[in-house]
Symmetry: C2
Subunit: 326 residues, 2 copies
């Protein structure tokens, strides 16, 4: 059968542009031994994919030029209709090894797209961050950057459900309002309108006990400055730097971590697969109880809309987890 | 009785100079209820004291202008001749609360000055760092900056005794040689002669598992670059920045900690007083067995030599722990 996929046409320099991607058709053979033919229904665009577009060694290998991109997707097994999660996104149909797909248990009435967001990799990243990497405790103040994003929106709502005071930052007044009014954070500032350092002085007067860092840069510096004794910082990503062509200056106040007895810890969610059951239990429960709002932008327009959605996501144009409906 | 002390005459701006200090005489009354009169025999100068000379809130309160400085000292209780460790250094005699002095058990044949170095606060800082903050494991590569210093010299020798490969850095060829030949590190580079990043590429080809940071700055950046997956960094101090009048740029590669799953943790030894017994057991044993060399510079010349020794220590002029013989 004939199917379509998005390929990496060239490696982006700085911010990706449309011409870095190519929509192509290909012939898909019959499923081989142990393979499943899957028709994708939703595919994910995630910030970490920008890193894989560079030709550098990292914790995942770079994407290959001229080949289809990869990423999380939810699809139906054509033969059985069963819904599965797998990593052959950026294409309409995929042949996937049966042992590489994960079944997709969904709370009643929730869209399968949540399996790429709050109930998928971004949600589990959030959960691992506030549970194992920078554990949050009842009554503590937790600061979360990119709070309107796929990971931050979930991290903040989990911390809130655990009895923390949760403050966030987001790009632009509409997102900040969304984080406060819809996601229920105690406060949220627009980092484009106010210096993060100043904002934290106002909305986290008693300091910050945990910072969930999704952006790096000046917000990380501000969080170190506001950190309380024994504070913890989970380093989840540095979206402010993914498109950078020059190394960004680091926080000038890092030495404060000595006197503050601060801990800063980087992590990758795939190391923590053994925690999936507990994650599903807590976050699935919060969703079922209506205590966790799914922050999600579903982009219509099929596969051809994916490169634009990816570029827009890196620019911070969307709210919450960005998925493409195929 | 009449005694002499060193006072803070004014707050240093940048590097301290002699005029920031004042040698003064004062009348010392009789010991009150619960007080001991102690004649100091050795006093300590430590890098952290530079921070206390600034008028800023930190983990210890700033020194007061016109008042005697404070710091670790070993002295004899005049009445009993007992050797005690206490925190009223920078003076010839001190009245000390009896419950504020610590007895000073010494392995046979070791100078009491060791109670301010390998068997004192710097040694315990080293031990806590490689034991609790950034635990070193047999077979790992451990990088230690300021390796010829009071803390670094002990940290490296403990790691070596535990079966690690230990590499260091020091300022100048003589110190680097001392670290290799006398302290027994596997390698040591002179950070003034070779770029730390380049040096680590040569002497730590398989990367760095643990970095014990005493300096911050470019060496911290180099260590992050060389860090292996799951690597740990103990932030102990940033002597390269103690005299800084402007904030120093942070490591530009901090975001690497995400993919490397790196941990960076600041600490202050006084939080870990419950570990003193275990520290004394291990480090005292290594000293008694001749497996840990005491890196120490004893400055003669009495109290008046202390300000100069402190200034020289911050400039990196001395080897090992700097103590003043009174």
């Amino acid at each position: 059968m004939e199917t379509r996929e998005i390929r990496l046409a060239r490696r982006p320099h700085g911010e990706p542009v449309a011409d870095d991607f190519e929509l192509a058709s290909r012939e898909l053979g019959e499923p081989g031994e142990g393979e499943l033919l899957v028709r994708n229904r939703f595919m994910s665009v995630d910030p970490y994919m920008r890193g894989r577009m560079n030709d550098v060694k990292s914790y995942v290998p770079p994407f290959e030029l001229g080949k289809a991109l990869q990423g999380g997707a939810v699809g139906e097994v054509v033969e059985t209709g069963e819904l599965v999660v797998h990593d052959r996104g950026w294409r309409e149909h995929a042949l996937v090894q049966a042992d590489k797909v994960r079944p997709a248990p969904l709370p009643h009435g929730i869209s399968p797209s949540a399996l790429l967001g709050a109930l998928g990799m971004p949600g589990m990243t959030a959960w691992v961050g506030v549970t194992d990497i920078a554990p949050v405790r009842e009554g503590e103040t937790v600061f979360i950057s990119a709070a309107a994003g796929a990971v931050g929106s979930v991290a903040g709502q989990i911390a809130k459900a655990r009895g923390c005071r949760v403050v966030g930052s987001a790009g632009g007044p509409a997102k900040a309002e969304y984080v406060r009014d819809v996601l229920g954070f105690d406060a949220c500032f627009d980092y484009r309108a106010i210096e993060p350092r100043e904002a934290l002085r106002e909305i986290a007067r008693d300091g910050v006990d945990v910072y969930f860092d999704n952006v790096g840069g000046v917000q990380l510096e501000a969080a170190i400055g506001a950190l309380n004794r024994g504070g913890r910082i989970a380093l989840c990503g540095a979206v402010s730097q993914y498109n950078a062509t020059e190394p960004a200056p680091g926080p000038r106040n890092l030495a404060l971590l000595v006197g503050k007895r601060g801990t800063m810890r980087g992590f990758i969610v795939s190391d923590h697969a053994d925690r999936e059951g507990e994650f599903r239990g807590e976050v699935g429960g919060l969703i079922a109880d209506g205590r966790l709002t799914l922050a999600e932008t579903v982009v219509e327009g099929g596969l051809e809309a994916a490169p634009g959605a990816f570029i827009d996501m890196l620019r911070g144009k969307h709210l919450g987890k960005v998925v493409i409906a195929l």
